[in-house]
Symmetry: C2
Subunit: 198 residues, 2 copies
């Protein structure tokens, strides 16, 4: 038993399996949380237990929330008739940090995949279609990742949406602060094709 | 409220303050733990609460343990008369992973520092001296970090130890797998000075 006790070893092993962590950083985290009898470990445990027991997907948009309907869906000021479709909750959070979008979201929770047996129903696409009627949606923004899977899913959704709807996607081009020299060829080509008047 | 709920935001903020993590990796960890309703978050919370309530420093050597006397101090096979002095528990774990040392440890929990008001008693040095009598110690290995603070503390301890005792330090030189080209000048000089017959 190299690391203190069976429980400590189990905790390190559990943390080492988390994304972005490994055995070394897990050991460092555990020792830091236990350092100086600060009670940090038990505080974090309490907070995690609370989040684990309350966190649930929003019944309407699949966003992560502590209520049946998330704060964004429940906010009447955000009934702008715009729905932004994202792959996962992390993308929703990223868009919210930008503070540019004031409508509502629809979180797919993944992309269509024949290999992994993920169909439209698994991504809540039928629910999205029914929301478009219920919430008088006029524009759907397909903010999916610029990957093959994301764009395939975006095309599928665009085809499934009613004709009358405005369907848009995020602009592609040079990121703010980006240097051309470091950009991949595909992005440069896309930015050049989508060039606009200065 | 960009991130789900107040509790989720508090959890992300708490995790982002941990060493080696930041807001981005904390968000990723929280979402990964909540993904697919796997119960991972509550399992980790339970494990952390258990460790937080049982972890304590060994009354003899200051190692992290879940008992008053740690497994190493309680193991009669490790009463070899050798005590290895280390700065912190992470160093003890590193030595245990090496499986080369079969004696006991003494964890200082830091280094001497006039600036931070850390004196010999804070590092358990009087306790180390009384252990040397109680446990019939014949050799003390000063395995402190090769930093100025570590080496200053090592010299202080070496001076305080009884004359009859063998006091050793870790060998300094080229790390296994190390390339000379990438080593700092100090290490190369130390390795050359301490050269040995092939």
């Amino acid at each position: 038993m190299a690391e203190g006790s069976d429980d400590i070893q189990a905790l390190i092993a559990a943390m080492a399996r988390l994304p972005g962590l490994g055995p070394r950083s897990a050991r460092r985290l555990v020792l830091s949380l236990l350092a100086r009898n600060s009670g940090q470990m038990s505080q974090l445990a309490t907070l995690m237990a609370k989040v684990a027991s309350t966190a649930q997907p929003c019944a309407r948009c699949n966003n992560l929330s502590d209520r049946e309907i998330c704060a964004i869906c429940a906010d009447p000021a955000r009934a702008t008739g715009e729905i932004c479709v994202v792959e996962d909750v992390a993308d929703l959070w990223a868009l919210e940090r930008g503070r540019a979008f004031r409508g509502r979201y629809h979180v797919l929770g993944g992309t269509l995949s024949a290999l992994d047996d993920v169909g439209p129903a698994d991504l809540g696409i039928p629910r999205l279609l029914s929301r478009i009627e219920d919430e008088a949606v006029t524009e759907v923004i397909l903010a999916l990742n610029a990957t093959i899977e994301g764009q395939t899913t975006a095309h599928y959704i665009a085809d499934a949406l009613p004709e009358a709807l405005t369907v848009t996607g995020l602009a592609q081009g040079v990121p703010i602060g980006g240097e051309l020299d470091y950009l991949d060829d595909g992005t440069i080509t896309a930015a050049l094709r989508a060039r606009r008047r200065f």
